[in-house]
């Protein structure tokens, strides 16, 4: 049975169209110990700050649109458990539209640029593609990446270097392993700054979908060293 608890949430407020700079507003919230951060935010919107701008949709960790930073760590608001003290901020390093909502235009531009649809050498012939069942499983695991950008936000290399981010590397690897794709995904990855990865596995730890972009990068690097598949030739 969940118990009643009192929480304090400090939320970063910022409206670029009117505010000179961001400020933090603190809210006392009465809730239960099995609440998620999203429940706290919604409670604040419903009872205390009707002008709070925040984003969510599915509330069960599938759409990935509710990602925020809680106590300095990027998480999905709908998944992360509430805490007695929470500092809630919009996901860095993206431009802030208002309060906790960020502008994803550049993210979508990167997705478009990387061209994650299988680049076929021959037309799709209809019928099931010949894919090994275990490979299909692995492709599906990579296919369940939410594009939530939690890994990109947490990545120290994205912060410091010219690196698109772990999520994009994972999707490149997804395509590289897809039998129907003939693009030179390794080259694309290197162009996107794959070599800047520190191998710190923070992305693996933070991923809400239990994926490992760092492993995808390691697989690419291994291909780079030892010569990977020749699908793209």
């Amino acid at each position: 049975m969940p118990t009643d608890i009192k929480m304090r949430a400090e939320i970063r407020r910022y409206d670029p169209s009117v505010d000179a700079e961001p400020h933090y507003e603190t809210f006392e919230v009465a809730g239960q110990d099995n609440w998620r951060v999203l429940d706290v935010i919604r409670s604040i919107y419903e009872r205390q700050a009707g002008d709070l701008a925040y984003q969510f949709a599915c509330r069960v960790g599938r759409c990935g649109t509710c990602a925020v930073k809680v106590n300095g760590v990027p998480v999905l608001a709908c998944q992360e458990r509430c805490k007695p003290e929470m500092k809630i901020e919009p996901l860095t390093p993206f431009p802030v539209l208002r309060d906790l909502v960020v502008d994803r235009s550049e993210i979508e531009a990167r997705y478009e640029q990387h061209a994650y649809a299988p680049q076929r050498k021959t037309e799709y012939a209809g019928g099931p593609e010949p894919i090994d069942p275990l490979l299909a499983e692995d492709l599906c695991h990579k296919g369940s990446c939410l594009a939530c950008m939690v890994c990109v936000s947490g990545c120290p290399a994205v912060e410091e270097r010219a690196f698109d981010g772990p999520a994009f590397m994972l999707k490149l690897r997804h395509m590289a392993e897809h039998p129907a794709d003939s693009g030179n995904r390794l080259e694309q990855a290197i162009d996107a700054g794959m070599l800047e990865c520190f191998g710190c596995d923070l992305c693996t730890q933070l991923c809400p979908a239990d994926l490992s972009p760092a492993q995808a990068i390691r697989d690419f690097r291994r291909d780079m060293i030892f010569g990977g598949s020749k699908k793209h030739e």
Binding site: G50, Q55, C63, E108, Y124, L146
Partner: protein, 588 residues
């Protein structure tokens, strides 16, 4: 006196509202047919119902020699208790597999047992094993489709909520008025054709499984434009969903069939559902299929147990899964196991402990009445996906929504491109209409005193859950209609927002949603009142039996501000395969 509302305009061939699979598939088809397409997403483009789906896909792949498109058709009509739009259902059965191959061509890897043989499972209510799936579920489907849109350079406008369609004096739709929520700016897209793929109305209910944005916008917009709705009284409730935490409450746990060996074999045992007295109460309602019954019967059975006081304190019943299924379940649906682990605990995730479940509003069975090419009675307006009605009748088979949105999404796109080619354009007169509508929707921004939208939304949701949900009665439906009228006349005009910021003003968005929720809520209540029987998802305590005189559809339309409900014969095929007569529930 406020300044004239500024509305930015542009012209497109096909305007699509909705970023789920139906909208995206329409975009792909319309683009490939040569149309200039713009797709509007109410929030970030990945926020849609398809995303949340388990991605189960019913289709006749040929891998089960016992199955056929006739059998799939028959199963769907049986499940729909005979009021399906037979031609639409036939199309679903016939075209589902081709669309599954389309997804494969986009990069989706259906689960396999061999390199070219798909893995199939059962669905609650179907006769043969035919359901395909992929481990990445709705996430995988939406991602591969998004990349197809990127590949074609189709423009997607995030945070663009379709507020209304604009029509010329003959009633022909000339474009769509959208609110760019990220800026608070109005945009009028004049278009040769508008496709509504905005999903369903799950947010009308207190406990629901859908995303927060599914407030039935598109269906309401169509209704206001003069479109006919069909079967709008039919709302599918998923029998089992999470009870806690609050954010996960209502999120589907699919069906008890999947938590037992019945997942593989239609004759095997599903998971058992027990009330607080330890009784398998479903046996009262469907002694033959037991917990492997269809969603309508199961959801009603559970709801009645809870209402009659035999549910848990949190408002649920207990599902006893079969741990033998765990390995397969973990392999097929790891995301579900993860949620069970995170929301309930390890024992529950391993299917070793009883799982607390409750029904939840899932799927809008009715919707805008369409023809086989997704056109409705309003020229220039097409509707596909959950927003359209007729494909599934009175109850939908699990796994049939995924093929529905692909099949009819594509058809809507093809037809929209065709309609756009033939249409010359609306002209400048429509911009004034758009401006006027935009001005009206700014009303709440000007008020300083009043009620906040979230409060009204909750009232509507509670009324719908209590009286227009799983358990309905004539008296309560009439009461609800009166309550809605009162809300519309007395409360809606007093809505205000806390902050006048135009950027991402959630209360403003909810204000726009309120009118849609009321429109659909009224239509659902009125239509439910007019159906004096129990069939599929529609259950009346005052008319608990199936009435064969009511093997018919109710058509709802708005005329001069009034709702008109009309009974019409079911649309059958010439050589229709007759539906097996089924009695819905042993109570009858």
């Amino acid at each position: 006196m406020t300044a004239k509302t500024e509305v930015f305009t542009e012209h497109v061939d096909v305007l699509i509202a909705g970023s789920g699979a139906a909208g995206m598939r329409a975009a792909i088809a319309a683009h490939d047919a040569g149309a200039k397409v713009v797709l509007l997403a109410k929030g970030p483009r990945r926020a849609n119902h398809t995303r949340m789906s388990g991605g189960r896909y019913n289709a006749v792949s040929g891998f089960n020699p016992a199955d056929s498109t006739d059998a799939f058709f028959r199963d769907t009509v049986d499940s729909g208790v005979g009021i399906n739009n037979y031609p639409l259902t036939r199309i679903l059965a016939d075209e589902a597999m081709d669309r599954a191959y389309d997804l494969e061509s986009y990069g989706l890897a259906w689960d396999r047992t061999e390199i070219k043989k798909y893995y199939m499972s059962m669905t609650g209510g179907g006769t043969f094993v035919r359901t395909l799936g992929s481990i990445d579920e709705g996430i995988g489907i939406t991602e591969v489709m998004l990349h197809q849109l990127h590949k074609r350079g189709i423009r997607i406008c995030d945070f663009h909520m379709l507020a209304d369609v604009v029509q010329d004096d003959s009633g022909r739709v000339t474009g769509g008025l959208a609110l760019d929520l990220s800026k608070g700016a109005w945009r009028y897209f004049s278009a040769g054709a508008v496709v509504i793929a905005t999903g369903g109305t799950s947010q009308l209910y207190e406990t629901s499984s859908g995303p927060a944005i599914n407030t039935g916008d598109g269906i309401a917009i169509a209704l206001r434009a003069g479109a006919e709705l069909v079967d709008i009284e039919f709302m599918q409730f998923i029998p089992i969903s999470f009870v806690y935490p609050p954010s996960a409450r209502g999120y589907t746990l699919i069906e008890p069939a999947h938590y037992g060996m019945r997942h593989f074999d239609p004759k095997a045992e599903p998971a058992h559902l027990l009330n607080t007295k330890g009784e398998r109460f479903v046996l009262k309602h469907d002694p033959v299929r037991r917990e492997g019954s269809t969603r309508d019967i199961l959801a009603r059975a559970i709801m009645l147990e809870i209402l009659e006081g035999r549910g848990t304190p949190e408002g649920g019943v207990l599902m006893h899964p079969d741990p033998q299924v765990f390995d397969a379940f973990l392999k097929e649906r790891p995301i579900y196991i993860k949620r069970l682990l995170e929301n309930y605990g390890e024992g529950h995730a391993r299917l070793q402990e009883p799982i607390q479940v409750t029904p939840s509003a899932l799927y809008t069975l009715g919707g805008v009445r369409i023809d086989p090419w997704c056109r409705c009675n309003v020229p220039g307006l097409l509707v596909s996906g959950e927003a359209a009605g007729g494909v599934h009748g009175a109850n939908r088979l699990g796994g049939s929504s995924m093929p529905d949105i692909q099949v009819f999404g594509r058809r809507a796109g093809i037809a929209a491109a065709e309609d756009a080619r033939e249409y010359a354009g609306g002209g400048a007169a429509q911009l004034d209409k758009a401006r006027a509508r935009a001005a009206a929707l700014e009303a709440c921004m000007q008020r300083n005193d009043g009620v906040r939208p979230p409060d009204i939304k909750k009232r509507i949701q509670k009324l719908m859950w209590d009286h227009v949900g799983l358990v309905r009665s004539g008296a309560k439906l009439t009461e609800t209609l009166a309550a809605f009228r009162s809300l519309r006349e007395h409360v809606l005009p007093t809505v205000k927002v806390t902050n006048k910021s135009r950027v991402l003003n959630r209360e403003w968005m909810e204000f726009l949603e309120l009118e849609n929720l009321l429109d659909i809520g009224e239509a659902m209540a009125a239509s439910s009142l007019q159906r004096p029987e129990t069939r599929g998802a529609h259950y009346r305590t005052d008319f608990p039996a199936l009435d064969s005189n009511w093997t018919a559809n109710l058509i709802v339309r708005r005329h001069a501000g009034q709702l008109q409900v009309e009974k019409k014969a079911v649309v059958t095929l010439e050589k229709a395969v007759p539906a097996r007569e089924k009695i819905a529930g042993a109570i009858a």
